[in-house]
Subunit: 169 residues, 2 copies
DNA sequence: ATTGACCCGTTGCTACAAGCAACGCAGATT
DNA sequence: AATCTGCGTTGCTTGTAGCAACGGGTCAAT
Protein backbone atom coordinates (compact mmCIF):
# COMPACT_ATOMS: atom_id res chain seq x y z
CA UNK A 1 0.00 0.00 0.00
CA UNK A 2 2.55 2.62 1.12
CA UNK A 3 4.92 1.45 -1.62
CA UNK A 4 2.24 1.71 -4.30
CA UNK A 5 1.17 5.15 -3.10
CA UNK A 6 4.73 6.49 -3.14
CA UNK A 7 5.17 5.27 -6.72
CA UNK A 8 1.80 6.56 -7.98
CA UNK A 9 2.15 10.01 -6.44
CA UNK A 10 5.78 10.41 -7.52
CA UNK A 11 4.76 9.69 -11.10
CA UNK A 12 1.73 11.99 -10.82
CA UNK A 13 4.18 14.75 -9.85
CA UNK A 14 6.29 13.93 -12.91
CA UNK A 15 9.38 13.06 -10.86
CA UNK A 16 11.86 10.26 -11.57
CA UNK A 17 13.21 8.15 -8.75
CA UNK A 18 16.56 9.96 -9.16
CA UNK A 19 14.93 13.40 -8.87
CA UNK A 20 12.94 12.46 -5.78
CA UNK A 21 16.03 10.84 -4.23
CA UNK A 22 17.98 14.03 -4.79
CA UNK A 23 15.34 16.11 -3.02
CA UNK A 24 15.33 13.70 -0.04
CA UNK A 25 19.14 13.32 0.11
CA UNK A 26 19.06 9.53 -0.39
CA UNK A 27 20.28 7.38 -3.28
CA UNK A 28 17.89 6.44 -6.08
CA UNK A 29 17.95 2.74 -5.12
CA UNK A 30 16.41 3.63 -1.79
CA UNK A 31 13.38 5.06 -3.57
CA UNK A 32 13.19 1.94 -5.71
CA UNK A 33 13.20 -0.23 -2.58
CA UNK A 34 10.42 1.82 -0.99
CA UNK A 35 8.32 1.48 -4.10
CA UNK A 36 8.91 -2.27 -4.30
CA UNK A 37 8.15 -2.64 -0.59
CA UNK A 38 11.66 -3.94 0.17
CA UNK A 39 12.18 -1.26 2.80
CA UNK A 40 10.11 1.40 4.54
CA UNK A 41 11.02 5.07 5.14
CA UNK A 42 11.30 6.05 8.80
CA UNK A 43 8.97 8.53 10.42
CA UNK A 44 11.11 11.61 9.81
CA UNK A 45 11.57 10.65 6.19
CA UNK A 46 7.79 10.14 5.90
CA UNK A 47 7.19 13.74 6.90
CA UNK A 48 9.80 15.08 4.48
CA UNK A 49 8.36 12.85 1.74
CA UNK A 50 4.84 14.15 2.29
CA UNK A 51 6.13 17.72 2.01
CA UNK A 52 8.04 17.07 -1.23
CA UNK A 53 5.08 15.21 -2.75
CA UNK A 54 2.56 17.74 -1.33
CA UNK A 55 0.48 14.87 -0.02
CA UNK A 56 -0.57 14.21 3.60
CA UNK A 57 1.12 11.29 5.35
CA UNK A 58 -2.31 9.79 5.84
CA UNK A 59 -2.75 9.56 2.09
CA UNK A 60 0.71 8.06 1.65
CA UNK A 61 -0.04 5.44 4.30
CA UNK A 62 -3.35 4.62 2.65
CA UNK A 63 -5.23 5.72 5.72
CA UNK A 64 -8.81 6.52 4.86
CA UNK A 65 -9.62 10.08 5.88
CA UNK A 66 -13.22 11.03 5.30
CA UNK A 67 -13.73 14.57 4.09
CA UNK A 68 -17.31 15.41 4.71
CA UNK A 69 -16.60 18.94 3.54
CA UNK A 70 -15.77 17.75 0.06
CA UNK A 71 -19.06 15.89 -0.10
CA UNK A 72 -20.98 18.95 1.10
CA UNK A 73 -19.20 21.09 -1.49
CA UNK A 74 -20.10 18.65 -4.21
CA UNK A 75 -23.76 18.52 -3.22
CA UNK A 76 -23.96 22.33 -3.10
CA UNK A 77 -22.23 22.65 -6.44
CA UNK A 78 -24.64 20.22 -8.07
CA UNK A 79 -27.67 21.98 -6.61
CA UNK A 80 -26.42 25.34 -7.91
CA UNK A 81 -26.05 23.78 -11.31
CA UNK A 82 -29.60 22.41 -11.22
CA UNK A 83 -31.01 25.79 -10.18
CA UNK A 84 -29.17 27.58 -12.98
CA UNK A 85 -30.45 25.01 -15.45
CA UNK A 86 -34.05 25.39 -14.28
CA UNK A 87 -33.90 29.19 -14.49
CA UNK A 88 -32.49 29.00 -18.00
CA UNK A 89 -35.18 26.56 -19.06
CA UNK A 90 -37.94 28.71 -17.59
CA UNK A 91 -36.70 31.69 -19.54
CA UNK A 92 -36.48 29.69 -22.77
CA UNK A 93 -39.99 28.30 -22.30
CA UNK A 94 -41.48 31.76 -21.73
CA UNK A 95 -39.77 33.10 -24.84
CA UNK A 96 -41.11 30.22 -26.90
CA UNK A 97 -44.67 30.77 -25.70
CA UNK A 98 -44.68 34.44 -26.57
CA UNK A 99 -43.06 33.73 -29.92
CA UNK A 100 -45.84 31.29 -30.73
CA UNK A 101 -48.53 33.68 -29.57
CA UNK A 102 -47.26 36.51 -31.76
CA UNK A 103 -47.09 34.22 -34.78
CA UNK A 104 -50.63 33.07 -34.09
CA UNK A 105 -51.83 36.67 -33.77
CA UNK A 106 -50.30 37.52 -37.13
CA UNK A 107 -51.78 34.50 -38.87
CA UNK A 108 -55.24 35.01 -37.38
CA UNK A 109 -55.24 38.72 -38.28
CA UNK A 110 -54.21 38.03 -41.86
CA UNK A 111 -56.72 35.19 -42.17
CA UNK A 112 -59.57 37.37 -40.94
CA UNK A 113 -58.50 40.13 -43.31
CA UNK A 114 -58.46 37.72 -46.26
CA UNK A 115 -61.88 36.33 -45.28
CA UNK A 116 -63.34 39.81 -45.06
CA UNK A 117 -61.94 40.69 -48.48
CA UNK A 118 -63.46 37.54 -49.95
CA UNK A 119 -66.81 38.13 -48.30
CA UNK A 120 -66.85 41.73 -49.51
CA UNK A 121 -69.28 43.10 -46.89
CA UNK A 122 -72.28 40.81 -47.61
CA UNK A 123 -74.53 42.60 -45.01
CA UNK A 124 -75.06 45.42 -47.51
CA UNK A 125 -77.41 43.14 -49.47
CA UNK A 126 -79.34 41.68 -46.56
CA UNK A 127 -83.03 42.29 -45.83
CA UNK A 128 -83.01 44.64 -42.80
CA UNK A 129 -86.72 44.20 -42.08
CA UNK A 130 -85.95 40.88 -40.38
CA UNK A 131 -84.99 41.80 -36.75
CA UNK A 132 -82.42 39.02 -36.35
CA UNK A 133 -80.75 39.82 -39.61
CA UNK A 134 -80.76 43.45 -38.66
CA UNK A 135 -78.89 42.89 -35.40
CA UNK A 136 -76.38 40.52 -36.89
CA UNK A 137 -75.85 42.82 -39.81
CA UNK A 138 -75.04 45.72 -37.54
CA UNK A 139 -72.76 43.61 -35.39
CA UNK A 140 -70.96 42.41 -38.53
CA UNK A 141 -70.61 45.97 -39.74
CA UNK A 142 -69.27 47.11 -36.34
CA UNK A 143 -66.78 44.27 -36.22
CA UNK A 144 -65.56 45.02 -39.72
CA UNK A 145 -65.26 48.67 -38.85
CA UNK A 146 -63.22 47.97 -35.77
CA UNK A 147 -61.03 45.29 -37.36
CA UNK A 148 -59.98 47.50 -40.26
CA UNK A 149 -58.81 50.18 -37.86
CA UNK A 150 -57.02 47.87 -35.40
CA UNK A 151 -55.47 45.48 -37.91
CA UNK A 152 -52.36 47.62 -38.70
CA UNK A 153 -51.46 47.88 -35.02
CA UNK A 154 -51.98 44.13 -34.48
CA UNK A 155 -49.85 43.22 -37.49
CA UNK A 156 -47.08 45.64 -36.59
CA UNK A 157 -47.11 44.57 -32.93
CA UNK A 158 -47.00 40.88 -33.89
CA UNK A 159 -44.05 41.37 -36.25
CA UNK A 160 -42.06 43.32 -33.63
CA UNK A 161 -42.93 40.71 -30.97
CA UNK A 162 -41.83 37.86 -33.24
CA UNK A 163 -38.53 39.62 -33.85
CA UNK A 164 -37.88 40.28 -30.16
CA UNK A 165 -38.68 36.71 -29.06
CA UNK A 166 -36.84 34.89 -31.78
CA UNK A 167 -34.35 32.28 -30.64
CA UNK A 168 -30.86 33.72 -30.38
CA UNK A 169 -27.81 31.53 -30.92
CA UNK B 1 6.78 16.49 18.54
CA UNK B 2 5.67 12.93 17.72
CA UNK B 3 6.79 11.79 21.18
CA UNK B 4 4.85 14.56 22.91
CA UNK B 5 1.74 13.87 20.82
CA UNK B 6 1.82 10.14 21.63
CA UNK B 7 2.08 10.89 25.38
CA UNK B 8 -0.65 13.59 25.37
CA UNK B 9 -3.12 11.56 23.36
CA UNK B 10 -2.48 8.34 25.34
CA UNK B 11 -3.23 10.20 28.55
CA UNK B 12 -6.28 11.89 27.01
CA UNK B 13 -7.58 8.38 26.25
CA UNK B 14 -6.94 7.40 29.90
CA UNK B 15 -4.49 4.64 28.98
CA UNK B 16 -1.32 3.72 30.90
CA UNK B 17 1.85 2.88 29.00
CA UNK B 18 1.33 -0.76 29.95
CA UNK B 19 -2.23 -0.81 28.61
CA UNK B 20 -1.24 0.79 25.33
CA UNK B 21 1.75 -1.56 25.02
CA UNK B 22 -0.54 -4.54 25.50
CA UNK B 23 -2.87 -3.36 22.69
CA UNK B 24 0.14 -2.90 20.37
CA UNK B 25 1.87 -6.16 21.40
CA UNK B 26 5.10 -4.41 22.56
CA UNK B 27 6.65 -4.07 26.01
CA UNK B 28 5.82 -1.06 28.11
CA UNK B 29 9.37 0.29 27.91
CA UNK B 30 8.97 0.66 24.17
CA UNK B 31 6.11 3.09 24.74
CA UNK B 32 8.23 4.93 27.27
CA UNK B 33 11.03 5.31 24.72
CA UNK B 34 8.64 6.63 22.09
CA UNK B 35 7.31 9.20 24.49
CA UNK B 36 10.80 10.28 25.53
CA UNK B 37 11.90 10.44 21.91
CA UNK B 38 14.52 7.71 22.43
CA UNK B 39 13.06 5.64 19.60
CA UNK B 40 10.43 6.04 16.87
CA UNK B 41 7.70 3.60 15.87
CA UNK B 42 7.98 2.29 12.32
CA UNK B 43 5.39 2.98 9.62
CA UNK B 44 3.24 -0.10 10.27
CA UNK B 45 3.25 0.61 13.99
CA UNK B 46 2.26 4.22 13.27
CA UNK B 47 -0.87 3.09 11.47
CA UNK B 48 -1.82 0.65 14.27
CA UNK B 49 -1.12 3.35 16.85
CA UNK B 50 -3.38 5.85 15.08
CA UNK B 51 -6.17 3.27 15.03
CA UNK B 52 -5.81 2.44 18.75
CA UNK B 53 -5.67 6.12 19.67
CA UNK B 54 -8.39 7.01 17.13
CA UNK B 55 -6.24 9.82 15.82
CA UNK B 56 -4.99 10.35 12.25
CA UNK B 57 -1.29 9.78 11.63
CA UNK B 58 -1.08 13.38 10.47
CA UNK B 59 -2.14 14.58 13.89
CA UNK B 60 0.31 12.24 15.62
CA UNK B 61 3.11 13.57 13.43
CA UNK B 62 2.04 17.14 14.07
CA UNK B 63 1.45 17.75 10.38
CA UNK B 64 -0.67 20.78 9.54
CA UNK B 65 -3.43 20.02 7.06
CA UNK B 66 -4.82 23.09 5.27
CA UNK B 67 -8.42 23.02 4.11
CA UNK B 68 -8.87 25.33 1.16
CA UNK B 69 -12.20 23.63 0.54
CA UNK B 70 -13.73 25.61 3.38
CA UNK B 71 -13.14 28.81 1.41
CA UNK B 72 -14.79 27.31 -1.68
CA UNK B 73 -17.77 26.29 0.40
CA UNK B 74 -18.14 29.86 1.61
CA UNK B 75 -18.12 31.30 -1.90
CA UNK B 76 -20.73 28.78 -3.05
CA UNK B 77 -22.90 29.49 -0.03
CA UNK B 78 -22.86 33.23 -0.73
CA UNK B 79 -23.79 32.72 -4.37
CA UNK B 80 -26.74 30.53 -3.36
CA UNK B 81 -27.86 33.28 -1.03
CA UNK B 82 -27.77 35.88 -3.83
CA UNK B 83 -29.81 33.64 -6.14
CA UNK B 84 -32.43 33.08 -3.45
CA UNK B 85 -32.66 36.83 -2.87
CA UNK B 86 -33.15 37.56 -6.58
CA UNK B 87 -35.87 34.91 -6.88
CA UNK B 88 -37.68 36.30 -3.84
CA UNK B 89 -37.57 39.85 -5.26
CA UNK B 90 -38.89 38.67 -8.61
CA UNK B 91 -41.80 36.97 -6.89
CA UNK B 92 -42.59 40.06 -4.83
CA UNK B 93 -42.58 42.28 -7.92
CA UNK B 94 -44.94 39.97 -9.79
CA UNK B 95 -47.31 39.91 -6.83
CA UNK B 96 -47.38 43.72 -6.68
CA UNK B 97 -48.18 44.03 -10.40
CA UNK B 98 -51.12 41.68 -10.22
CA UNK B 99 -52.36 43.33 -7.05
CA UNK B 100 -52.40 46.68 -8.83
CA UNK B 101 -54.13 45.25 -11.91
CA UNK B 102 -56.95 43.71 -9.86
CA UNK B 103 -57.52 46.99 -8.02
CA UNK B 104 -57.62 48.84 -11.34
CA UNK B 105 -60.10 46.30 -12.73
CA UNK B 106 -62.36 46.80 -9.74
CA UNK B 107 -62.24 50.58 -9.94
CA UNK B 108 -62.84 50.68 -13.70
CA UNK B 109 -65.74 48.25 -13.45
CA UNK B 110 -67.41 50.23 -10.69
CA UNK B 111 -66.80 53.51 -12.51
CA UNK B 112 -68.40 52.21 -15.70
CA UNK B 113 -71.36 50.90 -13.74
CA UNK B 114 -71.85 54.24 -12.05
CA UNK B 115 -71.62 56.05 -15.40
CA UNK B 116 -74.19 53.72 -16.97
CA UNK B 117 -76.52 54.26 -14.07
CA UNK B 118 -76.19 58.01 -14.43
CA UNK B 119 -76.66 57.89 -18.21
CA UNK B 120 -79.74 55.65 -17.83
CA UNK B 121 -79.68 54.13 -21.29
CA UNK B 122 -79.89 57.34 -23.37
CA UNK B 123 -80.00 55.46 -26.70
CA UNK B 124 -83.71 54.71 -26.13
CA UNK B 125 -84.52 58.29 -27.02
CA UNK B 126 -82.33 58.63 -30.05
CA UNK B 127 -83.50 59.09 -33.64
CA UNK B 128 -82.79 55.79 -35.34
CA UNK B 129 -83.39 57.12 -38.87
CA UNK B 130 -79.87 58.56 -38.82
CA UNK B 131 -77.54 55.71 -39.93
CA UNK B 132 -74.62 56.74 -37.69
CA UNK B 133 -76.84 57.15 -34.69
CA UNK B 134 -78.40 53.85 -35.46
CA UNK B 135 -75.07 52.03 -35.45
CA UNK B 136 -73.76 53.68 -32.32
CA UNK B 137 -77.07 53.14 -30.58
CA UNK B 138 -76.97 49.42 -31.21
CA UNK B 139 -73.33 49.21 -30.17
CA UNK B 140 -74.12 51.07 -26.98
CA UNK B 141 -77.02 48.76 -26.26
CA UNK B 142 -74.84 45.68 -26.93
CA UNK B 143 -72.11 46.95 -24.68
CA UNK B 144 -74.55 47.70 -21.90
CA UNK B 145 -76.09 44.29 -22.30
CA UNK B 146 -72.72 42.55 -22.07
CA UNK B 147 -71.41 44.71 -19.25
CA UNK B 148 -74.38 44.09 -16.98
CA UNK B 149 -73.92 40.35 -17.34
CA UNK B 150 -70.11 40.25 -16.95
CA UNK B 151 -69.80 42.81 -14.19
CA UNK B 152 -70.52 40.45 -11.24
CA UNK B 153 -67.82 38.07 -12.38
CA UNK B 154 -65.33 40.87 -12.88
CA UNK B 155 -66.01 42.37 -9.46
CA UNK B 156 -65.88 39.02 -7.69
CA UNK B 157 -62.71 38.02 -9.55
CA UNK B 158 -61.04 41.34 -8.76
CA UNK B 159 -61.88 41.09 -5.04
CA UNK B 160 -60.56 37.50 -4.81
CA UNK B 161 -57.45 38.49 -6.75
CA UNK B 162 -56.82 41.45 -4.48
CA UNK B 163 -57.13 39.21 -1.44
CA UNK B 164 -54.78 36.54 -2.81
CA UNK B 165 -52.07 38.98 -3.89
CA UNK B 166 -52.07 41.12 -0.78
CA UNK B 167 -48.73 41.59 0.94
CA UNK B 168 -48.24 39.04 3.69
CA UNK B 169 -46.13 39.81 6.73
C1' DA C 1 23.51 -2.05 -36.76
C1' DT C 2 25.75 0.66 -32.41
C1' DT C 3 25.88 4.09 -28.82
C1' DG C 4 24.26 7.07 -25.28
C1' DA C 5 20.74 8.71 -22.18
C1' DC C 6 17.16 7.74 -19.12
C1' DC C 7 14.64 4.90 -15.99
C1' DC C 8 14.15 1.23 -12.88
C1' DG C 9 14.75 -3.46 -10.27
C1' DT C 10 17.82 -6.54 -7.60
C1' DT C 11 21.70 -8.00 -4.63
C1' DG C 12 25.32 -7.77 -1.01
C1' DC C 13 26.93 -5.40 2.80
C1' DT C 14 27.33 -2.28 6.84
C1' DA C 15 25.75 0.53 10.35
C1' DC C 16 22.23 1.95 13.16
C1' DA C 17 18.41 2.03 16.01
C1' DA C 18 13.98 -0.33 17.46
C1' DG C 19 12.47 -3.29 20.78
C1' DC C 20 13.21 -6.62 24.61
C1' DA C 21 14.72 -7.55 29.36
C1' DA C 22 16.51 -5.78 33.52
C1' DC C 23 17.10 -2.15 36.88
C1' DG C 24 15.52 1.65 39.55
C1' DC C 25 12.70 5.78 41.27
C1' DA C 26 8.52 8.29 42.98
C1' DG C 27 4.02 8.57 44.84
C1' DA C 28 -0.10 6.58 46.89
C1' DT C 29 -2.33 3.08 49.72
C1' DT C 30 -2.70 -0.39 53.34
C1' DA D 1 7.15 -0.80 57.11
C1' DA D 2 5.54 -3.34 52.56
C1' DT D 3 2.98 -3.30 48.30
C1' DC D 4 1.10 -1.50 44.08
C1' DT D 5 1.05 1.53 40.11
C1' DG D 6 3.27 4.24 36.73
C1' DC D 7 7.21 5.64 34.44
C1' DG D 8 12.30 6.62 33.02
C1' DT D 9 16.91 4.70 31.91
C1' DT D 10 20.46 1.31 30.47
C1' DG D 11 22.60 -2.66 28.05
C1' DC D 12 22.14 -5.83 24.54
C1' DT D 13 20.54 -8.31 20.31
C1' DT D 14 18.53 -8.49 16.05
C1' DG D 15 16.45 -6.86 11.94
C1' DT D 16 16.38 -3.82 8.30
C1' DA D 17 17.15 0.85 6.10
C1' DG D 18 20.19 2.83 3.11
C1' DC D 19 24.48 2.83 0.34
C1' DA D 20 27.14 1.00 -3.55
C1' DA D 21 27.41 -2.05 -7.31
C1' DC D 22 25.38 -4.73 -10.98
C1' DG D 23 22.25 -5.35 -14.68
C1' DG D 24 18.15 -4.92 -17.91
C1' DG D 25 14.74 -2.36 -20.86
C1' DT D 26 13.29 1.48 -23.86
C1' DC D 27 13.94 5.26 -26.95
C1' DA D 28 16.29 8.43 -30.02
C1' DA D 29 20.28 9.72 -32.71
C1' DT D 30 24.08 8.38 -35.74
Amino acid sequence: MLNENIKAIRKAKGLSQAELASKLNVVRQTISKWEQGLSVPDADMLITLSEILETPVSTLLGETVTEPKTADLKVLSEKLEIINLQLAQKKATRRKIFHGLFILLLLVTVAIFVILILLNSPYLNWNYRDPETSVIGVAFHAFEWLFVRLMPFAVLGAIIGIFLTRKRG
